[in-house]
């Protein structure tokens, strides 16, 4: 069954990858959007998959803290589903961007140009929260797997669970704030965070029912939780109806009415019914996000359908791929758990890491704050809190792993990781060319040689803002920012020569910006020839 589903996932990935290509090459026009609906199906899928991710954490971390018995039987499946679902979820907002290569603009990290992300925007909070959530989820599952061999890691797992507990509620709160802070009446309401968290929990429980069924197992408690969650959601749907007059029959039917089948023992003991209910719950949660985000009726394009293949295919192949991998090395891992351990960290360690996390968060704050004083202190918390968690989680994880893994391996791997991460941070610090990925497609060289008009346009769009339309210099701009530019004379052009001037256009000089990547070499040459022409006209 597991292998079959893995293959199904791989097969679904074929149309999924086609969708990805289509979406990246055409851009947002490839799925259903218009000039009044800017968020479409990728955002629906993002909220859906990130919701699925949360239930995994809920079922393993939060139930571990609450010392619920059945946690042990489902925790690894739940954690694996979290990792796979976050991976799927994080793809959608990236594709959604108008210019995908500029995604790093959303990272609130220091950069060379002192341009910072807007800390008032929920998307920044989103980015940080989800990144940290993914990191700590990975730490958590690795700790879990290692703790089967080394019982001393159980205490690390517990601490990580404590870190994940608020974080998981936090992440979906932030996702709900993406909607709740807007001016759209249908998206407003103080109840949105709880509503979203409940929705996430509900869909995640349904997913776990399915995943356990794949393993030919069943946990009755989860079915009961599913019913409870459906009633709570039903209350919210009624609340929405009275508040905003919104009522979606299909959502309530799939999400509430069908789930009630689980009350009847004859029905719930049948595998088909249980699977049907879990799929109905997933469908209803998808529909709920869809009717929330896409209120108008737009005609779907192939890419809109393709997201299903991409999401489900990637999830199945990642989840069952990892599952098979883990099973290969440790076949019984999904059915057993390490014995109890009451070991705890010494107070010194706890306080030390807490203090370190505070110092880390404050350092980040201090490095950014003076540059962006207009942002109220309140808006920093959504960025500082996940960073605080990341530092604490990373410290505990490193500490735990250090105690069980051979020292040489530990330093080798962590050294490599530091190198890679350092490189990535360095790249973000330096930033890229803002025209990255956008080739210069303004004028082809053939047209330049035949007709003078296109190179004139190129000059007008690239050069005239400083050098002026006729090469006389744009006083408005230069006056404020740069020293006087050189007079455009034939004499001066001849003294420089065409080749070296072409290099100046491409590589820049003193106050002249480099245009490499924005104009091709032949275009640069055409521009220089155009300069000759301008100089002739002048004389």
């Amino acid at each position: 069954m597991v292998k079959k589903l893995f293959i199904v996932g791989l097969i679904l990935l074929i149309p999924g990858i086609w969708t990805l290509f289509q979406a990246l090459s055409i851009g947002p026009a490839s799925w259903a959007l218009d000039q009044s609906l800017f968020w479409g199906t990728p955002i629906v899928n993002f909220v859906f998959w990130i919701g699925l991710a949360h239930a995994g954490t809920f079922l393993s971390a939060i139930l571990l803290i609450l010392e619920v018995r059945f946690q042990k039987r489902i925790s690894l499946v739940a954690e694996l589903s979290t990792i796979a679902a976050i991976l799927v979820a994080s793809i959608f907002p990236l594709i959604h961007l108008g210019i995908v290569s500029r995604f790093y603009f959303l990272i609130p990290f220091f950069n060379e140009r002192n341009i910072f992300a807007n800390f008032s925007s929920p998307l920044i909070w989103d980015f940080v929260a989800i990144f940290v959530y993914l990191c700590i989820s990975i730490f958590y599952i690795v700790t879990h797997l290692l703790s089967l061999k080394h019982a001393s890691l159980l205490k690390t797992g517990k601490v990580l669970a404590w870190i994940l507990f608020p974080l998981v509620l936090w992440v979906h709160t932030i996702v709900s704030l993406d909607f709740a802070v807007t001016t759209n009446n249908l998206w407003q309401g103080a109840y949105f965070p709880i509503y979203f968290i409940l929705g996430a929990l509900f869909s995640g429980l349904a997913l776990v029912v399915f995943l356990l069924e794949v393993q030919k197992r069943r946990v009755r408690k989860i079915e009961e939780l599913l019913i409870a969650a459906s009633w709570l959601l039903f209350v919210f749907w009624i609340w929405e109806f009275f508040q905003k007059g919104v009522w979606h029959f299909e959502v309530v039917f799939f999400g509430f009415v069908i789930v009630q089948l689980l009350w009847i023992p004859v029905l719930r003991n049948q595998k088909t019914i249980r699977l049907f209910v879990s799929f109905a719950a997933l469908v209803s949660m998808w529909l709920e996000r869809y009717v929330l985000i896409v209120p108008s009726d737009l005609e779907w394009l192939p890419v809109d359908y393709g997201w299903f293949a991409l999401g489900i295919g990637l999830f199945l192949s990642v989840f069952f791929g990892l599952y098979l991998l883990i099973q290969k090395y440790n076949p019984i891992v999904f059915y057993v758990s390490a014995e109890e351990s009451n070991e705890k960290y010494s107070k010194k360690v706890l306080w030390g890491i807490l203090a370190g996390a505070v110092v880390f968060a404050l350092l980040y704050f201090a490095l950014n704050y003076p540059l962006d004083t207009s942002v109220p202190l309140m808006n920093w918390i959504p960025v500082l809190f996940p960073l605080f968690s990341l530092f604490a989680g990373l410290s505990f994880f490193a500490l735990g792993v250090y105690s069980v893994v051979p020292k040489k391996q530990f330093f080798l791997v962590s050294g490599l990781l530091v190198l890679i991460l350092g490189g990535a941070f360095g790249a973000f610090y330096a930033g890229g060319d803002t025209n990255l990925g956008v080739e210069s497609k303004i004028i082809s060289v053939e047209r330049v040689s035949k007709n003078n008009r296109p190179v004139k346009d190129l000059w007008a769009s690239r050069c005239a803002s400083c050098h002026g339309l006729k090469g006389e210099g744009n006083r408005k701009f230069i006056y404020e920012f740069y020293p006087e530019i050189q007079d455009l004379t034939l004499e001066r052009l001849n003294s420089q020569g065409e080749d070296s001037l072409t290099q100046v256009v491409l590589k820049g000089r003193a106050f002249m910006n480099p245009f490499e990547g924005r104009v091709s070499e032949s275009e640069a040459r055409a521009l220089i020839r155009y300069m000759y022409q301008l100089a002739e006209e002048k004389e």
Partner: protein
């Protein structure tokens, strides 16, 4: 199983590789053949089509005359416009003038069929609607990269080079007047470059009315050169210039000598009900107070 594992992996790999190759194929030639010159009649045609299917308009509500901004209490300028609804007859000349001034691209047939025009000024129920340059703009609050920012002059500006295209601003705009560049106009030959002072926007960024920022900057430079404080004299927007009835006024809400300020005296000042909470700089004049 019908096929062996090895066969499956082989065929799967081959299919994936084939798709990859297909995705990486060269597409350069296609774009050139599509390039065609854009003419003013093309633009006029799209404006006419847009005017045929107008979106509905919110109700108008009375607001006080705009005063200094909360964010910049000491600023001497707050540029804005007023559209006199008693004079306006919805002819659409302002839309054409705006298109030519700001190099607004045409849209392809598919987008046109969905009524997704790029026009910065739209007619809704025969009333021109453009960005209201809200003093407390909702779009600027949610922009993650800071591409939508307010200038101390009261202009809600767009930094195109900073825009990553999350479209959060468009979502948060109550009147949905922000326009997203769905098509690559340069590539598809839909770009009409008539004004070199305004940059051409690339595919994937949001754009909207800039209150003819380039004109304001030109006038500011002139004023600076002769050493005068710039209060928005000798400058007007393209739409105001083009209006045959003189229904659109550009000016400085904080300068008592500005024509806009003077004309607002005694007039009823209105805005759309959904925009009213955000302190707009562009307002409607209607009747007397």
């Amino acid at each position: 199983m019908l096929i062996s594992k090895r066969t499956f992996i082989k065929s799967f790999g081959a299919l994936l590789g084939g798709l990859l190759l297909f995705g990486c194929r060269k597409q350069g030639e296609k774009s050139l053949s599509r390039v065609r010159p854009v003419s003013i009649p093309d633009i006029k045609k799209q404006i006419k089509e847009a005017m045929k299917n107008q979106k509905p308009l919110d109700s108008l509500v009375a607001i006080p005359v705009p005063s200094s901004l909360k964010a910049f209490p000491n600023a001497t300028n707050r540029f804005g416009m007023a559209i006199d609804l008693d004079l306006c007859d919805g002819c659409g000349e302002c839309v054409l003038a705006c298109n030519l001034e700001n190099n607004i691209p045409l849209v392809n047939e598919y987008q046109a069929s969905k009524n997704n025009y790029m026009h910065w000024i739209e007619l809704r129920d025969q009333i021109p609607v453009t960005c209201f340059h809200c003093g407390d703009a909702p779009c600027e609050k949610v922009c993650p990269t800071g591409a939508a920012v307010h200038s101390p002059d009261g202009v809600s500006a767009m930094v195109y080079a900073r825009c990553a295209g999350t479209r959060f601003c468009g979502v948060n705009c109550p009147i949905k007047i922000r326009k997203f560049n769905y098509v690559d106009a340069l590539d598809e030959g839909l770009q009409f470059i008539s004004n070199p002072e305004v940059p051409v926007r690339e595919q994937g960024v949001i754009e909207k009315c800039s209150l003819c920022l380039h004109r304001i900057q030109n006038a500011r430079l002139k004023a600076k050169t002769i050493g005068k404080e710039f209060l928005g004299e000798n400058v007007t927007t393209a739409c105001a210039e083009a209006c045959p009835k003189g229904a659109i006024l550009f000016g400085n809400w904080l300068d008592p000598n500005s024509l806009l300020y003077k004309k607002a005296r005694g007039r009823g000042v209105y805005t759309l009900s959904s925009i009213a909470p955000f302190d707009p700089s562009v307002v409607y004049f209607k009747g007397v107070r």
